[in-house]
Amino acid sequence: MKSQLLLPYRYKKIGWLILIPCLVLGLLKWYLINDHETLTYVVNIYYKNVFFDIVTTVLIAGILAGALLVVFSKEKQEDEFIQKLRLSSFGWAILINYLILFFCNLLFYGWSFLNIIAVNMFTTLLFYIIRFNYLLIRSKRL
């Protein structure tokens, strides 16, 4: 079975190596450091008079790049059953993600909803990774 969209297996390891530190640092920054602005490095490189937090930018880029590599890399032995798991995990992740978003839209307003939107940038990919690996481990058992 050939599939055009997937990267070779070794990119999966690279993906994990980028994703995990960025995710941990991102969560730490979000929960611990966000309120203390002195701790964040603020630079302006590209734009005059526009300040942005380079740490956040790098961490978001890291999480997205890592998650994309993990999601779009082949398994060690990629075959039709794994592809079926892949497809069903995509469907599951998108459904769960948008169901949560739907209810959050009804329950939260203003800045709290904006925070949820921010987290929502990553959740589709993360839900997929969790679901796919769960199915993979479950189907490994005898």
Binding site: M1, E75, K76, Q77, E78, D79, E80, F81, I82, K84, L136, S139, K140, R141, L142
Partner: protein, 66 residues
């Protein structure tokens, strides 16, 4: 769909892992087929049948509800 893969495997005395390697799929696939959680594609069914040197119908059979 039912199958006799586990029996065929026992006759040949090979593990899921060995069979998977011979056919070029993952062990999860063989496991899922044996547990009837996955219906293989025609291509894979033919490969499995060729490996055991039997017709496909000897290994994979339709059930009344199919």
């Amino acid at each position: 769909m039912t199958n006799t893969l586990k029996v065929e495997r026992a006759i040949k005395n090979i593990t899921q892992e060995e069979l998977a390697q011979c056919i070029g799929v993952s062990r999860q696939t063989i496991n899922a087929i044996e547990k009837k959680k996955y219906v293989p594609s025609t291509l894979l069914a033919l490969k499995i049948a060729r490996y055991f040197d039997k017709p496909v119908e000897a290994i994979f059979k339709l059930e009344p509800e199919d």
